[in-house]
């Protein structure tokens, strides 16, 4: 048979070979059991110090934490079962990867778990690891994959050898594969900051600077929405810009102070935007509002909740200075108009030996500009400032609008010198047509929290930057962009890419299963061979059955 076969095939192959080559060269991808987006943990260098998860690519089997052997496997954990010890265990056994599954809707999680995770986030980032850590949002299929993996992982340490053998031969495993390359540093990333001003009435006027950083931070950049920190600060700043531009547009209420508004980028990365802006304005420019008379700088950071208000300073203000006036006015406004608010000043010296600065005002303090930060958080180390759990529900709109009003009233009292003129602390300026618009704040906040605002995701062409610029242009004059690029030789910050990838989960069977199947197929074929060989028996049987009938004819 083979000789004829070969001669026939020779004729056929002459024209079919090119065709078959093309066909077999096309390596089509098989469909996966499940495909989902995964968001990688932060990876960045700040001032030479590396943080976060180094690696990105992945092609390993899935296991849950209960399994004995975790090395070179992808460890899957749910948020509800997450604990730092389990995470450490996975890292110590040099797991291939860790995937933390977060629920779609955080509000379904009990508060203590959320709180515990928020406190763990900085610790996760502090340990630099080569294991890629991913976060995925849970859906039905992912949950079923997790439960199946859990069942097979937890039964590995059990019972007899035969059971284990049977189990390993027939178990349904999952292979997790990510598409995408190894992570590498993004070159030439530009952090954008925006400034705008309202010029006062007169010449040689003092300047008040209002600052808020618009980026957010969390353990996974694509999941950091930063509602309270610092979406609330940005919303307040924009609302203040609107109110004061309205005041300044009337000749009678045109105050004798210049107002400079600054939306800084890279705030969570040691206030890079602010740092470079100060350098450019104070060192490289001949004349700038910052070089002349600066009354004070007020930084807004996390003001969307709670009934506490803290004014953070690095040096207690001297009597009679503009800073002292601000402090006094704040106390007056709070005492007379919002007694439920607990206000206090927090004094913290600038510690240059720390890796990162505490609050944004410290950047100004280093350059000898008097500055404060206003926040509802008492400590800069509070986990609420760097969490992925910081989403829209974390901001209480009424408290946000109350805080906006407090700041607006205080600033008005300062720029119009109301206390000196003897105006009582009960007088509210921002009412009726000038009132703080809650709807405006709400829509700003909704827009800000609709997409992640991590510094690595906002380059100078991003829609958020454009929209902020457009908004500022609407109310302020001389709106300018300010770009920060890392220094080539000694970069202050380095960002890495591959922060969002697609992971495929393939259903696989262990290798022994293939051998088992081959064995079964071989025995089936053997039986078939015997059956066909002895087909004659069936034939003669049927013949014998039919022949008596024939004989009767």
């Amino acid at each position: 048979m083979f000789e004829e076969a070969s001669e026939v095939l020779e004729n056929m192959l002459k024209w079919s070979l090119p065709l078959s080559l093309v066909l077999f060269l096309v390596l089509l991808r098989a469909e996966a059991a499940h495909e989902f987006s995964v968001y990688r943990m932060q990876q960045y260098d700040l001032q030479g110090q590396t943080y976060g998860s180094r690696n990105a690519i992945l092609n390993t089997e899935a296991r849950t934490v209960e399994a004995e052997v975790l090395s070179r496997r992808c460890v899957m954990m749910r948020l509800a079962d997450f604990s730092y010890e389990k995470y450490q265990k996975a890292l110590q056994q040099s797991a291939g990867a860790v995937v933390i599954i977060l629920p779609q809707n955080m509000s379904t999680m009990p508060q203590d778990i959320v709180q515990q995770f928020m406190e763990l986030e900085p610790e996760l980032l502090a340990t630099e690891t080569i294991v890629p850590v991913y976060f995925a949002l849970e859906d039905e299929e992912l949950l079923s994959i997790y439960t199946q993996t859990q069942i097979s992982s937890s039964s590995q340490g059990s019972s007899s050898a035969a059971e284990v053998l049977l189990h390993t031969a027939t178990a349904n495993g999952f292979q997790m594969v990510t598409s995408g390359a190894q992570s590498k540093a993004v070159s030439d990333w530009a952090i954008t900051s925006l400034e705008g001003r309202l010029t006062g009435a007169g010449e040689d006027l003092p300047t008040i600077v209002l600052v808020a950083h618009y980026d957010s931070f969390g353990v996974a950049p694509w999941l950091s929405y930063g509602a309270d920190s610092n979406g609330s600060g940005v919303a307040i700043l924009l609302e203040l810009a609107r109110l004061f531009s309205r005041l300044y547009s009337y000749k009678r209420s045109h105050a004798g102070y210049n107002l400079l508004f600054f939306l800084s980028g890279g705030g969570k990365f040691n206030y890079q935007g602010t740092k470079r802006w100060l350098e450019d304005n104070l060192d490289h420019t001949d004349s700038s509002l910052l070089q002349d008379n600066v009354a004070f700088v007020l930084c807004l950071d996390t003001l969307g909740n709670s009934d506490n208000l803290y004014l953070h300073v690095s040096k207690p203000p001297k009597e009679g200075s503009p800073q002292h006036i601000l402090l006094k006015e704040l106390e007056t406004v709070v005492a007379h108009q919002h007694p439920e608010l607990k206000f206090s000043m927090v004094h913290k010296k600038i510690n240059l030996a720390d890796d990162t600065l505490a609050w944004e005002h410290e950047r100004f303090g280093i350059r000898r500009l008097p500055a404060f930060t206003l926040s509802h958080l008492e400590s800069h180390r509070s986990p609420a400032r760097h969490s992925i759990m910081d989403k829209r529900p974390h901001v209480d709109l009424t408290k946000l609008s109350r805080n906006t009003k407090v700041i607006a009233e205080t600033l008005a009292r300062v720029i119009y010198n109301l206390t000196e003129k003897g105006v009582s602390g009960d007088l509210e300026i921002f009412t009726e047509q000038m009132q703080v618009q809650e709807d405006q704040l709400a829509s700003l906040l909704d827009w800000l929290t609709a997409q992640p605002r991590a510094a690595q995701l906002l380059d100078k062409d991003s829609s958020i930057v454009h929209t902020l610029e457009y908004y500022l242009n609407h109310y302020l004059k001389d709106v300018k962009r300010h770009l920060v690029r890392a220094d080539k030789r000694d970069p202050e910050f380095v960002f890495y890419d591959q922060l969002k990838q697609t992971m495929n989960a393939y259903r696989v069977k262990p290798a022994i299963f293939d051998l088992l199947l081959a064995f079964c197929i071989a025995s089936y074929l053997g039986v078939l061979y015997l059956a066909i060989q002895n087909f004659g028996l069936l034939y003669s049987f049927l013949r014998r059955v039919t022949s008596p009938r024939v004989k009767q004819h």
Binding site: V8, A30, E31, L515, L517, I521, Y524, L525, I532
Partner: protein, 225 residues
């Protein structure tokens, strides 16, 4: 070990064909080239059927999940062309009845195996993902082999001039069953909501029944002289 799995599926599908070819004594009659010709006829007939279906049958625009009985029935009727094709192959071969049947059936079934199974195996069984459907496809091709042998035998019997009157009816019924077997299978799966392995079992039983009946009739016919 997914190439191994691919090998498993291919051997499960192809080996019975190989064994049948060897053991039926076709190799002694230099029948390889004739089998290839039968395969070519299969390709031609499938092409004609596809053109016919595409031209004359509109796409089903009804609700998803509702099974279009009449439409599928009409489509199955087009499979009568298979019978014509088999008849054509057999009439061109000179020789004993058994020889003609085996050559036609082997060529036809092998062509179907290559055309409809090679690519799914290459693409699917070789991938990382495991699915039982590839093993099921291999079993299905085994069943098809038996089915085509039975179908060729029935066609041969139908065209014999010396077929006794009493055999006309059973042969016609068997012929009809052969053509509409696919339609019947889909009907069963839809009405009884069978699982994939159960459907395979039902298909095997049905094919077994058809082939036994046709074998019985064949033996009676051949040895009644």
């Amino acid at each position: 070990m997914t190439l191994f799995h691919f090998g498993n599926c291919v051997s499960l599908a192809y080996f019975p064909y190989f064994i049948t070819y060897k053991c039926s004594g076709l190799s002694e009659y230099n029948a390889f080239w004739r089998c290839v010709q039968a395969g070519a006829t299969y390709l031609f007939v499938q092409l004609c059927k596809m053109l016919f279906l595409a031209t004359f049958f509109p796409t089903w625009e009804g609700a998803v999940g509702v099974y279009d009985f009449v439409g599928e029935f009409m489509k199955a009727t087009v499979d009568l062309a298979d019978l014509l094709g088999l008849h054509l192959v057999m009439s061109r071969n000179a020789g004993k009845g058994e020889y003609k049947i085996m050559v036609a059936a082997m060529g036809w079934a092998t062509a179907e195996l290559i055309m409809s199974r090679c690519i799914p195996f290459w693409v699917g069984a070789r991938g990382i993902e495991f699915d039982w459907k590839y093993i099921q496809m291999s079993f299905d091709s085994n069943i098809s082999l038996v089915h085509y042998i039975a179908m060729a035998a029935v066609v041969w019997m139908f065209t014999r001039y010396d077929l006794p009157k009493s055999f006309r009816l059973p042969v016609t019924i068997l012929l009809g069953l052969c053509v509409y077997k696919g339609f019947l299978m889909e009907l069963f799966v839809h009405v009884f909501l069978l699982g994939s392995w159960t459907a395979l079992l039902v298909k095997a039983v049905l094919t077994g029944a058809i082939s036994l009946c046709s074998l019985f009739l064949f033996v009676t016919l051949v040895h009644s002289n």
